[in-house]
């Protein structure tokens, strides 16, 4: 059949940005409907990945490769494995929900907002498909421009500071990754990720390349101590920007680790796994405490994102320990699998949490927890969803938040019970900050007269929250399809781990 599906997925939303932009500020509704149309079309196209991709076989499929720059042997190379497919589906679903979520909320230049979202979506899908390192880098960096504009134009009062910090921070990390990639090209004469994975490197080379990659991806994830841009960016971003940032963009960091650090510098990765594991545990425990004391709801959820992403990096690097030092490939696979499930689950849960905050912000125009209280009295339906997502955020069984965290904790127990001990802390701290947030915002008496005037969610908001809720619960009760989709790909990734390159 049609074998340009991946190109279509990348370029359809980007091309869609043009008519949306041309609709102009004079016809905002046309721009909105066009944006929704292109998002839905992209989503439908992405559904074709499921029958096209043979999950049982695993490996890179739907390969597209064209010579891009003949003289440098650079390819326009695209392919997906199960992990990419899952992330692409996450991206396209979130894309629709973001457009619907912003429908009436964005009144100022909605055509530019929607166009930026569409361009961002295409570029993010490109990151998840690229098999050529230069192409990956181009997509990786191209994400910055639309996000920069999104936060800067439609953001909160300190948006300029936040968006500049976001851009420069991310650029800082990725520039060193570029140097590492150029060095690899110098050695291998190609940017093909498959060839780079087979390239022998001395430990010294691996070490420097590892740190260059780690800096780039750790900033994106973000890991402690380079996470400081995230709370600022989240707090100031418009709701849609926050949702995309948390749900998809952070995953680019961990996805990059999977595609670059694991196969290209496995020996350095093993040697420094303790460092990443330690940083992940700091994220889980310390950032959890930091989240506890936040007064701004968005900041609280932002810090909780850092903590949850800590689980993903923990799962990835615990696999190093298990597969290479203890030789326990099965458990390594469990940890990796858990990390992947956690990525998808966090995408839905954090997206939903930010949407919830957006819903309240649209009504009261404040994000401070102390301004709320007793919201459940006036917004019972909203309260229902909010509690559900809060439960998923603290990892309650039956929601998607539980599955990934449980698998990672289980795997880390095999590696070292102490790691599991600290990782399991999240179940307590996560519950503490999330439930306390719910208590202060939803329950209790209404002490702010403006809260009494809040109206319950309308049909559009219900649709968005319902979609998030359905996905969260579905993943929690029946994660099997997702695990099946990624299973053979994860095991291939873990097998790659075991290769020594020195």
């Amino acid at each position: 059949m049609f074998n340009h599906l991946l190109s279509l997925l990348i370029w359809l939303p980007i091309a869609g940005a043009v008519p949306v932009l041309l609709a102009g500020s004079a016809r905002p509704n046309l721009a909105r409907w066009l944006a929704l149309l292109f998002m839905v079309l992209t989503f439908v196209a992405s559904l074709f990945l499921l029958p096209q991709y043979d999950a049982a076989k695993g490996g890179m499929q739907l390969v597209e490769s064209h010579l891009w720059i003949a003289s440098l042997n650079v390819h326009y190379g695209l392919a997906v494995d199960g992990i990419s497919v899952a992330l692409i589906l996450l991206t396209t679903v979130v894309g629709i929900l973001v457009v619907v979520g912003a429908w009436e909320v964005i009144q100022d230049k909605p055509h530019q907002y929607m166009a930026a979202m569409l361009a961002l979506e295409g570029v993010m899908i490109g990151v998840f498909c690229a098999t050529d390192a230069l192409l990956f880098y181009v997509f990786f960096e191209a994400m910055l421009i639309p996000m920069f504009i999104l936060i800067g134009v439609w953001g909160g009062p300190r948006r300029v500071y936040a968006t500049l910090k976001f851009f420069i921070y991310t650029f800082l990390g990725s520039v060193f990754m570029l140097i590492a990639l150029l060095y690899l090209y110098h050695k291998a004469g190609t940017f093909d990720l498959h060839a780079l994975a087979a390239l022998p490197l001395t430990f010294n080379e691996q070490m420097w390349i590892f740190f260059a990659f780690l800096l780039a991806f750790a900033i994106k994830v973000p890991m402690v101590p380079v996470h400081t841009w995230l709370p600022d960016a989240h707090v100031e971003a418009p709701t849609g920007g926050s949702v995309v940032l948390a749900a998809v963009m952070l995953k680019v960091g961990t996805y990059g680790m999977l595609r670059f650090i694991l196969p290209i510098v496995p020996d350095a990765g093993q040697h420094f796994a303790w460092l990443v594991i330690a940083l992940s545990l700091v994220a889980v425990v310390y950032i959890g405490y930091v989240a506890l004391v936040q007064e701004d709801m968005k900041k609280l959820v932002a810090y909780s994102s850092v903590a949850h992403m800590g689980f993903v990096t923990l799962g990835i690097f615990i696999a190093f320990l298990l597969a290479r030092q203890l030789g326990d490939v099965d458990t390594a696979q469990l940890g990796m699998q858990g990390a992947m499930v956690q990525m998808i689950s966090h995408g839905f849960v954090s997206g939903a949490m930010f949407t919830c905050i957006g819903v309240m912000y649209d009504r009261l125009h404040t994000r401070l927890i102390k301004d709320y209280g007793g919201v459940i009295n006036v917004m019972p339906w909203f309260g229902f969803f909010y509690v559900l997502f809060a439960m998923a955020n603290c990892g309650l069984p039956g929601t998607s938040g539980f599955v990934g965290e449980f698998m990672v904790v289980l795997a880390s127990f095999k590696a070292n019970p102490w790691i599991a001990f600290f990782a399991a802390f999240t179940l307590i701290i996560g519950a503490a900050y999330t439930l306390w947030l719910v208590k202060r915002v939803l329950w209790g008496e209404i002490h702010n007269p403006h809260v009494a005037e809040m109206k319950d969610i309308n049909g559009r908001e219900t649709f968005v929250l319902l979609a998030f809720a359905a996905l969260t619960v579905a993943l929690g009760i029946w994660p099997e399809p997702l695990i099946h989709l990624m299973d053979s790909s994860v095991s291939q990734v873990v097998q790659q781990l075991a290769i020594h390159k020195i």
Binding site: F139, E141, F148, V160, T163, L164, V175, I179, Y183
Partner: protein, 480 residues
């Protein structure tokens, strides 16, 4: 005696000289309101010359006038883009000049003579020819900077440019004389052999240092960059555009002719010096640009940093690096025409649109021009997927391939610092609220709007489809 063949090889240059003289004559007999014709004649002439350069390009390198003039693929590419960027300057400048009553024939004649200088310079096969081409270019440029004679700023800039330019030309000439003394030859091809066999290597290196000063001055690389900010700010914007685009292509051509064609055998001497100049340029350019409030002055410091990156390509002293540097020069020329083109499009009578603050809230008033400027700025900053990123990527790659990883890392670090001031301008355009007296309605001139849009979108298109241009650059240096 010149043979017919010599003249045929130089046909594009002869044609341009003839037409430039004719335009001068025509201007004298023309009524002021008919000058629009002059503009279109000049535009057509540039297109025709470009066609002659490409169509008449021989398959192999040929020389004329006893090796004085070399017509090879490097010169072809540089001439094509020099003519193209001058064409863009003409189109962007017309409404600006008309509004300010500066729409005079001299502008076109001087520009054309400067372009002839560029064409001779990039084709030079002899030190004398290098000097002649350079002087024709710079003397025309001095006059162009001073063209707006009622403005004290512009006169000051012209005097500064002239004095420093004369000094650097003197340095260059002095260096050339020493090289001649050490080798007994002025011909670049003969020099290439002679420099390795010279009986006076110290004198040769001494001469090389002076020539490097001259090259660095013409590029505007630190520490010989002092004239750049004043001239960029003082000259009228069309002339600044010319100096920022066409002149930089010429300076690259000159640097390559002198350093590789002539002094290639001394690369172990000029590499470290050039590396120091490159690092200094990237540092000074990017750091000082941050504090600028005048847009043209900020772009001047940005030029200095970009010349540093261009030199990173040259430093590697190999065909890979040269093609990367040439690609950089071309990309810079195309980016700077966009950024200055937007300034020209937004300027009105009595309003120069020179301050960064003038762009406040441009996205509210004129979203299309804000988008064009943003494209140019992101491209200058080297953010993918825009054209400027690939230029930076190629020079850094060249540095790594030449085993100068440190230089690539330095370049990367300054790219991060440089990012800030470009983003600052984007921030002013997109995130700030418009103010009274800022940029309002852009010029309605259709040719400017269309060509500027194509120029800016080319930065995006070339960011995806840059292979052919790179292939062209690489072939000219004998690479596959």
């Amino acid at each position: 005696m010149p043979t017919l063949n010599d003249i045929l090889i130089l046909l594009p240059e002869f044609y341009l000289v003839a037409v430039a003289c004719l335009l001068l004559l025509l201007d004298a007999f023309m009524k002021p309101e008919q000058r629009g014709t002059l503009h279109w004649i000049a535009v057509v002439v540039l297109v025709v010359t470009g066609y002659m350069v490409v169509a008449g390009q021989p398959d192999v390198t040929v020389t004329a006038f006893g090796g004085m003039f070399v017509r090879d693929q490097v010169s072809e590419i540089l001439k094509v883009f020099a003519l193209l960027s001058t064409l863009l300057v003409f189109i962007y400048a017309r409404p600006y000049l008309v509004e300010r009553k500066q729409f005079v024939g001299e502008f076109y004649t001087l520009m054309l003579f400067a372009v002839i200088g560029v064409m001779l310079l990039v084709s030079a096969g002899n030190l004398v020819m290098v000097y002649l081409g350079l002087e024709l270019l710079t003397l025309s440029s001095y006059a162009l900077v001073a063209l707006n004679r009622d403005s004290p700023l512009s006169s000051e800039a012209a005097i500064k440019y002239f004095v420093l330019g004369a000094l650097s030309s003197g340095m260059l000439l002095y260096g050339m004389s020493m090289v001649y003394g050490a080798t007994g030859s002025l011909d670049l091809a003969q020099l290439h052999v002679a420099v390795t066999q010279s009986a006076m290597p110290h004198l040769l290196v001494f001469g090389l240092i002076f020539m490097l000063v001259g090259i660095a001055f013409k590029l505007g690389a630190a520490p010989f960059h002092m004239w750049i900010p004043d001239v960029y700010q003082g000259a009228s914007t069309p002339v600044t555009t010319f100096i920022a685009s066409t002149s930089k292509l010429a300076a690259f051509g000159m640097a390559w002719r002198l350093l590789e064609t002539g002094m290639g055998g001394l690369s172990q001497h000029w590499q470290p010096m050039l590396a120091a100049i490159a690092v200094l340029s990237m540092a000074i350019g990017n750091l000082v640009a941050i504090v600028q409030t005048n847009l043209k002055r900020m772009l001047a410091y940005s030029t200095i940093s970009h010349m540093g990156y261009l030199l990173v390509g040259l430093v590697s002293a190999g065909p890979e690096g040269y093609s990367a540097a040439m690609f950089y020069a071309i990309s810079y020329a195309l980016m700077s025409t966009v950024s200055f083109g937007v300034i020209l499009a937004l300027a009105r009578a009595g309003f120069e649109c020179e301050e960064i603050a003038d762009l406040k809230g441009l996205n509210q008033r004129s979203p299309w021009f804000a988008a064009l400027m943003a494209l140019a700025l992101f491209s200058l900053a080297g953010v993918p997927p825009l054209f400027g990123f690939y230029a930076k990527y190629l020079v850094l790659q060249a540095a790594i391939d030449a085993h100068m990883l440190w230089l690539a890392i330095v370049g990367a670090v300054f790219a991060i610092i440089g990012l800030y001031y470009y983003l600052h301008v984007v921030k002013v355009m997109y995130f700030d609220k418009p103010e009274e007296g800022g940029a309002d309605q852009p010029q309605a001139d259709a040719s400017l709007r269309v060509v500027l849009s194509i120029n800016a979108l080319a930065l995006l298109v070339l960011g995806v489809y840059w292979g052919p241009l790179l292939g062209w650059c690489r072939r000219s240096f004998g690479l596959g």
